[in-house]
Amino acid sequence: MSYLDEASLPLPFCPGCGHAKVTHAIDEALQILGRPKERVVVVTDIGCVGLTDRHFDTNAFHGLHGRSITYASGIKLADPDLTVVVVMGDGGAGIGGAHLLAAARRNIGICVIVANNFNYGMTGGQHSCTTPSGGITATCHLGNLEAPLDLMGTLRPSKPGFLARTSVFADDVPALIARGLATQGFSLVDIWDLCVAYYAGQNTLTRNSIADMMAELEMPAGVHFEGGRPEFARAWRDLYHPAETADDEGMCLLPPDAGLAPVAESILAARTGILIAGAAGQKIRSLATVFGAGAIMSGLHATQKDDYPITVMTGHSAAEVLVSPVPIVYTGIEVPDVVLILSEEGRARVARKLAKLPPESRVYVEASLGPVETQARVIPLDLKGAAKEVHRLAVGAVGVGTILAAEGIYPLEAFEAAARRLQKQKVADTNIAGLRAGAALAG
């Protein structure tokens, strides 16, 4: 049974072009494999050889230049039992080089056939990533200065399933493709081909001189690698999927959870904006989340936004928490009501905002940081001293305890419940102890 659509023949390639041979070799290889046509996909991209998919009586996918490996990978990942063949040229291998490398490293079970004719035939014979040094093309008419890409040598360190090189005129082409198709993991067959319209004529490359070129470039024909690494699409499922697949009714399966149902009541009268400014390592973000969750667990609404540098282990870490007895519409804090400063980095980060604060805002600051330039009321506190009694990471929780007690935003028990709800026990214990120490500090 042929896998070609007989009605679509003859093939559209130039007389003498090797792409027709490649196409028939793939058909022969598919016949050796014998899979149902519905379970075979031929994926191509732009380039003369990309015209071939429409002549296959299988599923056929013709995508963007150099991206065939990405579609093929998505198809294989979604349906690992499919036989997925990619047919591309050396142009596609060049522009899609990152995909080639990634697919080989993943060892995803697609079979890539590169019809490698050393130039871009479709656009008039420009040089490609495999054009030999000194080769003449439309874009290097005095000779190519770039070294050619060795597909075998490049991909072999990734230890994929199967790598082979041959000439389109060799007898072993169908057999090598069949071995590639039968491979569980990633396979690639690099088929050196003749572009009769451009490269072959301009460089006197013939059927017989392909072998000489292989010798000269030290890129011999033959099987270059066979490996036994697990195929990615199946390996991913084996590793990540739970032993018993979850019941799939289209709904997200999460453990039954009580969420942040209220455990206390807040008497907060108006929307209050709180800025927590500290340093990396002070656990500001998670603390702000517990603080906001505590607000929710006392019946309030809350929003949280974090501000920290990309290099997360250094510099400032700040968070804005907005709490409100009514739903929060606008999430910005134009004038913070309360600022908590835990470190020098944090103070520097919010300096512009401190300078603009009105007298009625309150700034709670670690006392050792010295004076704060602001019109707002400044309350220096020995937060670090209080934290020492608890844990060195508790300084933020001490600060939050101080604010909650002094400002009366919501009851401490709601923060404690939130910490228990969201954090591991040891972390929650530390934060709760810090919170209580802070509340004591506020008097």
Binding site: E38, R39, V41, R54, D57, T58, N59, A60, F61, H62, G63, L64, R67, I69, T70, Y71, A72, S73, G74, I75, L77, A78, D79, D81, L82, A98, H99, L101, A102, W236, R237, Y240, H241, P242, A246, D248, G250, M251, C252, L253, D257, G259, L260, T289, G292, I296, H301, A302, T303, Q304, K305, D306, D307, I310, I328, V329, Y330, T331, G332, E334
Partner: protein
């Protein structure tokens, strides 16, 4: 269940509840937590999530997986949208259901990577060659990150088209109180993928009326599927026949544009006798809501139109909201993009663009003052 979640978390929940079982993405601030959230959640749901070598591979894998019958999602920010561009065109011409989340950040180029903006609004609509329509939705809250992600999947299936969720840092990475169980209970079940009948030959892009949408038969399913980036006829055969190409262009345009009213999601809050109308979307809609509340509290009159569907432009909703209005105020976190769309229907009314692109939110005061609302 009440939770304290970020918009990106809600996108993950919405996608899973919509039946999404394939995700491919590449890390980028401020969208990364969708990638990591999907990696965490997908195994339990029986799906696949993968980090790719780049954004081109991410959307390419999604397109491939979608054509095997999966509902698929990818997520990125502005720089990644640039790399998605060519494949968005492929998904349009191949009629591939696909949901893309663009958690926008201030640009251009790398921009302020950790700060918000709505600078990609027109780029999302017009950022692929050929200019054919797709669908763009814009959430203003964590709650809407859930509901509009669900809606995006339904629209992608209904119209076989890419749908972009125009989120941004200020929505995606802001934590809010939200109850997704309530949101879920209030929504209809997600739309399953239509199956193609097996008693006749399958024609992948079949249509009788230009706006018809053919069911999609998956690769690996009962039919052999053909798919091509090149200009094709209804069978996905290459064609150079101008009459066939013209029909196909008409189809790809009208299947979306003729259904703009069905796709339109918006909140209209009219104020009797108001001469001013605020039109907004996304995070800035919340500033607009606050501004409108303050104006009304001060005794002023102002109407509000919040758009959740940005493209196709909800023309009928905008025209209806403009009745009796003399001035339209359009606040947005860019240099004035959607104001140009509103201008198309203004019929001589003043359109005042209130813009900010310095990474700060447009404040309610900005809307009132620059909009001349009080």
């Amino acid at each position: 269940m009440i939770e304290f979640l970020e918009g990106n978390d809600a996108v993950v929940r919405g996608a899973l509840d919509a039946g999404c079982r394939f995700f491919a993405g590449y890390p980028i601030t401020p969208a990364t937590s969708i990638l990591t959230g999907m990696m965490r959640a997908m195994p339990e749901a029986g799906g696949v999530a993968v980090q790719c070598e780049d954004e081109i591979a991410s959307i390419g894998m999604c397109i491939g997986a979608s054509m095997t019958g999966q509902k698929v999602l990818t997520a990125t920010s502005g720089p990644g949208m640039s790399l998605y561009s060519e494949n968005i065109g492929l998904a349009i011409t191949g009629e591939t259901p696909l949901v893309i989340v663009n958690v926008q950040r201030q640009g251009p180029a790398t921009g302020s990577a950790t700060k918000g903006a709505d600078g990609d609004i027109l780029f999302m609509r017009w950022g692929t060659s050929g200019g054919l329509p797709l669908i763009v939705l814009s959430p203003e809250s964590v709650h809407e990150c859930y509901t509009l992600t669900r809606a995006a999947f339904d629209l992608a299936e209904r119209y076989r088209v890419p749908v972009i969720l125009a989120s941004q840092k200020e929505v995606g990475l802001t934590r809010e109180r939200v109850d997704l169980d309530e949101a879920r209970a209030a929504m209809p079940p997600s739309r399953p993928r239509d199956a193609a009948p097996t008693d006749r030959p399958y024609v992948p892009h079949a249509f009788e009326q230009p706006d018809d949408v053919a069911p999609l038969s998956p690769i690996g399913g009962p039919h052999l599927l053909r798919y091509t980036t090149s200009m094709h006829d209804e069978r996905a055969w290459l064609t150079g026949d101008p009459a066939v190409i013209s029909r196909m262009m008409e189809h790809l345009r009208r299947k979306i544009d003729d259904h703009a009213d069905e796709i339109a999601l918006f909140d209209h809050d009219p104020d009797v006798g108001a001469k001013n109308l605020v039109v907004s979307y996304g995070i800035t809609a919340r500033s607009a809501r606050e501004a409108v509340a303050r104006v009304r509290a001060a005794g002023g009159r102002v109407s509000l139109l919040v758009l959740k569907t940005l493209f196709p432009v909800p023309e009928a909703a905008i025209r209806a909201a403009l009745i009796g209005i003399e001035r339209v105020v359009v606040p947005e976190m860019n240099l004035g993009q959607y104001a140009r769309e509103v201008q198309l229907f203004a019929d001589g009314r003043e359109v005042r663009s209130v813009t900010r692109m310095d990474t700060e939110l447009v404040s309610p005061d900005d809307v009132i003052r620059e909009g001349g609302l009080l």
